[in-house]
Symmetry: C2
Subunit: 329 residues, 2 copies
């Protein structure tokens, strides 16, 4: 069955549905004819803005609530067929400044969501947006799923625990869960206000505002960048394929790029100036150096590969923000 057929008429819920990836997924699911509910706490600085879902605002059910609120969650998961668990605190530096909040959202709420499913809807398929952050500093490249799990910040540890809950609840209770370890995702609706959500959003905002981009270190650190439409496709595939149940998969891109190359690619769409500056101590302590993932396991299981290259993806991102403006613009 194709993804389009699978989701047509499906009752789907997305936690963090008004945020960056959640809203892109929502738009696509509405397009496929799914019955979509979005759960979002609208926490300031977490990336949600109603502008993100403007094109589908009247075709989704929007439920403002926080995944930390397990009583609401118990009702929200009922009668749903697929849950995309995307709500999260994603800033690494913020997880060090306020680790207890990171734990509540990334660790406790995930276990709580699974408990809600176990008690109220044990057959619902659940796709968890995990992160490459749980590998820590790569011991080899590209990083595959067998790589040791050695997270270097609180965010990585909490996501690791969360991912393990998802796998466990499949093993012990048979709840159909699957986790995708996302890497650097970028694209329209990404958080560009907040300095704590990774460099790509900041770089793009600075370019849009004609400000100089500051690159920490030599700029030679490599990353694999996934355009959000490719990530949405991966999430849809994961949610539609029972043969992936209980598994964990890397996403990734076949062409890793350095930060300098990222800036060069961005320059094809918009004028960019940059400077190299030394790493601030705080960022250095939790930096992971080069990272790029091996996504062959997911490719073999689902046929997925990224379709959008960095130049195209950045062009579409810049186009989006030029058309819609950006928060603060």
């Amino acid at each position: 069955m194709s993804v389009a057929e699978f989701y047509h008429g499906k009752r789907v819920v997305i936690t963090g549905g008004v945020g960056f990836i959640g809203s892109n997924l929502a738009l696509r699911l509405v397009d496929l004819g799914a019955e979509v509910m979005l759960i979002d706490s609208m926490l300031p600085a977490y990336g949600a803005t109603l502008e993100n879902i403007a094109p589908v605002r009247d075709r989704v059910q929007l439920n403002f609530s926080d995944v930390r609120d397990s009583h609401s969650l118990s009702y929200l998961v009922q009668e749903r067929e697929v849950i995309f668990s995307l709500a999260g605190q994603i800033s690494h530096s913020e997880s060090m400044r306020d680790p207890m909040t990171d734990l509540e959202i990334n660790c406790r709420s995930q276990l709580s969501l699974l408990e809600c499913c176990r008690h109220n809807n044990p057959n619902v398929r659940v796709v968890f947006a995990s992160t490459r952050q749980l590998y820590g500093r790569p011991r080899y490249l590209p990083v595959d799923e067998k790589h040791p799990l050695e997270p270097v910040d609180v965010n990585g540890i909490n996501n690791l625990a969360a991912e393990m809950y998802y796998t466990l609840y499949h093993q012990v209770y048979g709840i159909p869960t699957v986790s995708l370890r996302l890497t650097n995702t970028y694209g329209p609706r990404m958080e560009v206000r907040n300095d704590k959500k990774g460099f790509s959003g900041i770089f793009i905002r600075n370019a849009l505002e004609g400000k100089k981009i500051r690159i920490f270190g030599s700029g030679e650190q490599r990353r694999d960048f996934n355009f959000v439409d490719d990530v949405v496709e991966a999430l849809l595939l994961a949610g539609a394929a029972p043969e992936l149940d209980g598994e964990v998969f890397n996403l990734g891109h076949p062409t890793p790029r350095s930060l300098l190359e990222f800036v060069q690619a961005l320059r094809q769409s918009i004028p960019v100036e940059y400077e190299l500056v030394p790493f601030p101590a705080e960022a250095q302590a939790i930096d992971i150096g080069d990272y790029y993932g091996d996504f062959q396991k997911f490719h073999k299981a689902s046929g997925w590969s990224p379709r959008v290259d960095l130049e195209q993806g950045l062009a579409r991102t810049v186009e989006y923000y030029r058309a819609h403006g950006w928060p603060g613009s």
Copy 2:
């Protein structure tokens, strides 16, 4: 410096200090001339009983409080030189029945303790009692510290996250932490009331009460058993050796024994009858099969090896309960 010299006059705090291992550690530390504070929530069925610390009751400072209470904890860690973090929910089956409580105690409270140290006493040495449970089902034996971490229950996942917080707070903030992965610990003051704290306590209680011991499965599952005095010695060594900071070590025993052999060893001290019964489904789902650990890393780093064999240890355990009675006796 010897352990005895190191702890003489040291200001030490033990969380879970009235429980099984905590109380044995407390007795030894008082004996070494340390200034000992015990923190315990006295949660029913968690193993704490004042009988455990009767011999030193007037030579320790006893603070009744729960590690989930971070405001109290902030004060309790101040001016201490060594913290033994032993408070925990240790029942695997209970962690599946009530996973949120397991998370609060084993995961959230550990992060909270570290935050208290970071803000109020960043030079305090912290020894964390971790568990072999975070390895899951062994892929090879004996299990060393490089073995993949694949916990098979919520308790194992939460302990894994906790241990990673300890290592991280050393790496990022320089707090001197060290984790020991305990295996099956037994001895005087162990919890013998509660069916959920592992089989050794239940076996010993049944023997004391003249009841038949029920062994799940074939009885051939092997484990490594550490007598509590050996575990106390390991904790003391870990707390006294700055060169172990930031590290994680297995405990273990050079002679693993099957459950049937455990019963044979127990029979040398007390008459025992037993029967083999099939695994209940709940226990089977989270059973890890054979487990024994390689403790060479800790042996090389600290000189530690277990001194007490199973026959001696069980004899001393039975002797203790015969002299003191046991809860419910």
